[in-house]
Symmetry: C2
Subunit: 284 residues, 2 copies
Amino acid sequence: MSVKPRPRGKLVAIGGAEDKSAKAAILGRVLKLSNSETPVVGVITTASSIPDEVYPAYEEAFDALGAGEVLDVRIRERRDADDPKMVEMIRRCDVLFISGGDQMRLTSIFGASKSLEAIRSIYHEGAVIAGTSAGAACQSTTMVYGGSAIDSLRKGAVKMSAGFGLIEGVIIDTHFLERGRFSRLMEVGATNPEYLGIGLGEDAAVLFEGGIIKAFGPGHVILVDSSRITSCNVFDLSDGEAVSVHNVVMHALVEGDGYNLADRQVLSAKQLGAESLELKDAYT
Amino acid sequence: MSVKPRPRGKLVAIGGAEDKSAKAAILGRVLKLSNSETPVVGVITTASSIPDEVYPAYEEAFDALGAGEVLDVRIRERRDADDPKMVEMIRRCDVLFISGGDQMRLTSIFGASKSLEAIRSIYHEGAVIAGTSAGAACQSTTMVYGGSAIDSLRKGAVKMSAGFGLIEGVIIDTHFLERGRFSRLMEVGATNPEYLGIGLGEDAAVLFEGGIIKAFGPGHVILVDSSRITSCNVFDLSDGEAVSVHNVVMHALVEGDGYNLADRQVLSAKQLGAESLELKDAYT
């Protein structure tokens, strides 16, 4: 959209239900992306209504995967999000991981807080910010927070709000294949074709780095590109009426595939070339 | 949110139903902001379903107010938005005016088009971009496009989507006092307190310039600042349930008042000081 200094950090969005075992493909790579032997990993469970169950599972997983230290960044209400102790914890992180739950908990509790400022600032300085499910959906400027999977291609069916703004020009949806959410991102694209829909399957992830998306993990990543839609009736409808939209382009990416956000081109593992090799180094 | 080169142009959002007579306070000022004696003014009526009525009214108004030339940038479908003639017309404009209607027509037709690229680029190079009603609502990164005025403080009642992204960190609503839309921006703020709600009354406007908002015109501008909300239940609700939100701060601005977006402080005409004088020069 305009020239903006690119964050030096790395952003990872995960589709939910990622493997947390010792073989965890995605979580293991998230740690490796930090380029630290013993990264400090902070876990934010604000999105979840059961943090006492969620946190220990991640603590164990990250410990097993080689974290130097795992921090429980326990933010439950708005006042916690301005607590200097929480801000200090976030600032220490090489990797900050945002758990699943409800993305509106994240935006409503973190919006305009010192903790959110700290997240942005470590991201710009070089940290890895990763999130799964709600923790992925919240990353974009405008986010999806609801909408029936059965038929969201009806005006007003998809619920959107303002997200954390860590990545521009995309809208991220999760549990995408498992819950059949294709129609949600088709409606989103109809309302504004400029936004690339990123539908993350479970145990699938994307890395955003330097204007390129890279898919990884065992699952699928579906891209919904509405930039070339030729016509659409969404503005002629009342709420609940069926949306027509022509010429939506979709891509199903798997591990090793990439995508150039600027020119909207899929990049095969081969085309990613040197960059891909570089990634492999970081991963293994 | 991050360091971004500030556009050299000026952005004006108008609440709708602005005076179009020879005394038109707001439209007259919009032309003056161009610092051109005889500005070229382009009018985009894409949001409207009756462009043949809307365009001539603005043509007459801008002619009477001293435009050097008024251009009918007639974009009705997505293919028009990529038409080089339209792009060329937009690039000639000192002032680009976006009429009212339905903001979803604007985003759905302009999204990912060459015309939208041209609008962004003239804005960054120094042009005045102004819009009324739908033409104002579309300016932010996340926009409101619907929601009952009677009671929008219910989860999911406010309809949001991705806008043109000309201004970050705010969400603009229009016809605000006339249609009693306070509850819409209160719900928006509850979902993400980081976003300042700007509720524009009819025949009221704001100028965005250098991180400052300046109110002008005969009507009111209501600011809804949710950044200090202490608690909110929106994430605990199902769709349609009543949202609670505590400590929302509102300001009613009139002509001459300002607001600093970074520190969320109202600036009186006096506090605007030299800047205010400068504005007056530009206005008269």
